[in-house]
Amino acid sequence: MKIQPEHQGEDKLLEVQDLTVKFALRKGILPAVNNVSFTLNRGERLGLVGESGAGKSVTGFALLNLISKPGFIDSGKVLFGGRDISALKDDEMRKIRGDRISMIFQDPMMTLNPVLTIGTQMVETIQAHRNISRAEAERICLDKLRKVYIPSPEKRLTQYPHEFSGGMRQRIVIAIALLLEPSLIIADEPTTALDVTIQAEIMDLLLELCEVHNMGLILITHDLAVVSQVTQKIAVMYAGRIIEMGLTQEIVTNPLHPYTQGLIKALPQAGPRGARLNQIPGIMPSLYNMPSGCAFNPRCTKKLPLCCEEMPTLSSRESGSLVACHCV
C-alpha cells in the first residue's frame, strides 16, 4: 500500500516502498521491518522514532543494503533518485555508500578504527570514490573538518581517535560523512552516546549542515524531543511497522495513535514540575511474541475487540497525518 503524506511537488530524493526485512533465526524467519513506506524530498529531514527494537536501525541499514546475516531484505523497493538501489549488486551499491548517501552511527569511539589515524580514515573514503591524489584529498578533509568547527584541523589528521573527546569524535564522523557531499545522511542515534551538553551542539551542527548544503536527513532516534526540533516529518515505528507518520508540528501537537500520544506524554517537559513521569505500561513485544492483530494492543488504553484480531493499516486523516489504528 503506497501512501504518501502531502507535500509540495519537489524532487523526490528517496522513496521507500513496502520495505520488509526478515531475519532467519533458529525459531523461524521473522520480520524485523514490516511493509515500511515513506518518502523524502531533497533537503527534507525525517525523524524515524521508536523504542529500542522497533526496527528503526534495521530500516536505516536496509536503505544502504548493509544488513548482515542472518538478516535480509525480503521484499519492497528503495528508490533513490528514481533508481531502485535495493536490487543493486554490492559493487554498484558501494559507489553510493559514502558518496551519495552517508551514514553515521551512535558511538563515535566504536565507529572510528582505534589503530588508524583520522587522516587515513578520511582520505581512504575519498580515494574509494574519486581518483585524486592524496594531497588533494587531504585538502578536502581539512575543508570538511573546518565545516564541523574542529580547531587546528591540520594537526588532527595525524592523530588517533582516542586523543579526542566524545563530541569532537562525533564531529569528525560527521565530517567523514560530508566528504563527498552526499544528498542524504542517515544518522542512527547520533547523540545518544554523548554527554547531554554536547548533544545539543551536535544536533545544531547537523541541522545547520543540512540546511546549508540542502542535504536530506533521516534521523533515527528514540528521543522525541530532539526530533521535534530538528525534523520536518516524523514516522513513528512500533514493532517493525510505521504506525503514525506526518508533519512534525502536527504529530507533536496533535498525536493520533495511542502509542504516539503516550510517547509525547512521557516527555519530561510535558507535565508539571515535580509530577510523576508518565509511562506507557508494559514493553514492546519481541519478534518471537507478536500478539495477534495490532501489535500495540496489550498496552493500549483505547483497545477495541477488533484490535486483537485485525492489523490496522496506515490511512490518512483530515489533519494530513497517516495513522494505523482502528480507534482513531
Binding site: L64, L66, S68, D90, R94, K95, I96, R97, G98, D99, S102, M103, F105, D107, M110, T111, L112, N113, P114, V115, L116, E124, T125, A128, H129, Y160, H162, E163, V173, I176
Partner: protein, 346 residues
C-alpha cells in the same frame, strides 16, 4: 589461556599522551628486563655453587687435596657469597660463566657456537607459522561454514593433542623412511658467514635438512595461532568500525585487511612473543629427534654429563634471548597500539 605480559610498574594514567610517553614506556620495559636478568643470574649462580666444581673443571680430578684448596682460594671460592655472586654477574656480563669441563673451552663459547643452528630453526619455523596461520585463520573467520573451514578447525584440535616429538617422528617415518624424499637427521651442508655463523639457509642441502624439523616445530604452534587469528578476526569483523568502513563504501579487501587485520595483529603479536618461550623449549625436543646440533642438543648432553658450566651458560643465554624478545615484543606492541602508551597496560 595464554597470558599477556603486564607492565611491571603501573604508572598512573596520563590523560595527555605526548612523545615522551613512548620514551617512558620503553624505559620502564627495559628496567623490568634488567631485573629479570638479575634474577636469572642468581639462579645461575646458585646452580654453579650447588652443582659445579670449578676446580675440577680447570684441572681435572686427579689432583691432590692441597692443590685443590690452593686453587680454590686463588679462584676466590672461599669468599662470602654476595661477593662471589657479584663476581659471577660481572663475569657473566662479559660472557664468562665458567669452563665446560667436557669441551675444555669457555662454556659460553660452546653455546654461542651452537646458537645459529637453533636460531635458524626457530626463524624458519616462525616464518612458516606466519605464512600458514594468517591466511588460514582469516579464511576460517570469513567463511566459517565451508567444509574446508570445518576440516581445518577440527584438525587443529587434534594437532594440539599431538606432542611435538611425535609429529617429528611421524614426519620422519613418512618422508624419510618410507618415501625417502627428505633427510632425517643433521643440518646438512652449511656455509660459514661473517666468520662465525654457520648457516644452512644458503645451500640446497641445508635447506632440505631444514624442512622436516621446521615443520615439526611449527606444528606445535600452528593450531594455536590459527585459532587465535580466527577468533580475533571474527571478533573484529563484528566491530562497529567495520560496519562504518562498509558504510563509507570501501572495497571489501580494504575493509578486511586494513581495518580488520591491523586490529587482529595486536593480540597475535603478544601471544607470539609469549609463545617464543614455548618454541625454544620445543627446540630441545626437536633437536633431539633430528640430531640437530643446536643449543638444545648440547644442553641435554650437558645434563647427562653434569657439565654445570654449560648448563648455566645455556640458562643465561636462553634467558637473555627470552627477555630480549619479550621486551621487544612489548615495545612493538606499544608502537602498534597507541592506547597502551597512555596507560601502560593492555
Amino acid at each position: 589461556m595464554q597470558t599477556m605480559q603486564v607492565a611491571f610498574f603501573p604508572w598512573p594514567a596520563n590523560p595527555k599522551p605526548t612523545k615522551s610517553t613512548m620514551f617512558a614506556f620503553i624505559v620502564r620495559r627495559i628496567a623490568q628486563a634488567l631485573i629479570v636478568m638479575l634474577v636469572i643470574s642468581v639462579i645461575g649462580f646458585a646452580i654453579k655453587k650447588a652443582v659445579g666444581d670449578p676446580v675440577r673443571d680447570l684441572v681435572g680430578i686427579s689432583v691432590s687435596v692441597e692443590e685443590r684448596t690452593k686453587i680454590a682460594d686463588k679462584l676466590g671460592l672461599n669468599d662470602p657469597m654476595p661477593i662471589q655472586w657479584l663476581r659471577f654477574v660481572k663475569n657473566a656480563a662479559h660472557g664468562d660463566v665458567g669452563q665446560s669441563f667436557f669441551f675444555k673451552k669457555p662454556a659460553m663459547e660452546v653455546i654461542i657456537k651452537k646458537a645459529p643452528a637453533t636460531l635458524e630453526l626457530v626463524f624458519v619455523s616462525s616464518i612458516l607459522i606466519i605464512l600458514i596461520s594468517i591466511p588460514v585463520g582469516i579464511y576460517a573467520a570469513v567463511r566459517p561454514t565451508t567444509l574446508l573451514s570445518r576440516f581445518l578447525m577440527g584438525s587443529s584440535v587434534v594437532g594440539v593433542s599431538i606432542p611435538v616429538f611425535l609429529t617429528a617422528i611421524m614426519l620422519i617415518y613418512l618422508f624419510a623412511v618410507q618415501l625417502g624424499w627428505l633427510p632425517s637427521y643433521g643440518r646438512g651442508e652449511t656455509v660459514r658467514l661473517w666468520g662465525f655463523w654457520d648457516t644452512g639457509l644458503l645451500t640446497r642441502d641445508g635447506l632440505r635438512h631444514l624442512i622436516l624439523p621446521s615443520f615439526s616445530l611449527s606444528s606445535v604452534m600452528l593450531p594455536l595461532f590459527i585459532r587465535l587469528v580466527r577468533a580475533e578476526m571474527k571478533e573484529v569483523l563484528e566491530a562497529e568500525y567495520i560496519k562504518f568502513a562498509r558504510a563509507k563504501g570501501l572495497a571489501p579487501w580494504r575493509v578486511l585487511l586494513v581495518h580488520g587485520f591491523k586490529n587482529t595483529l595486536l593480540p597475535v603479536i603478544t601471544v607470539g612473543g609469549v609463545q617464543l618461550g614455548t618454541m625454544i623449549a620445543f627446540t630441545v625436543l626437536t633437536e633431539t629427534v633430528f640430531q640437530w646440533q643446536g643449543m638444545g642438543f648440547i644442553f641435554l648432553e650437558a645434563v647427562e654429563r653434569a657439565d654445570s658450566s654449560l648448563l648455566v651458560a645455556y640458562l643465561v643465554f636462553v634467558g637473555a634471548i627470552f627477555v630480549f624478545v619479550n621486551t621487544l615484543v612489548d615495545i612493538i606492541y606499544g608502537m602498534v597500539n597507541p592506547m597502551v602508551r597512555v596507560t601502560g597496560r593492555k
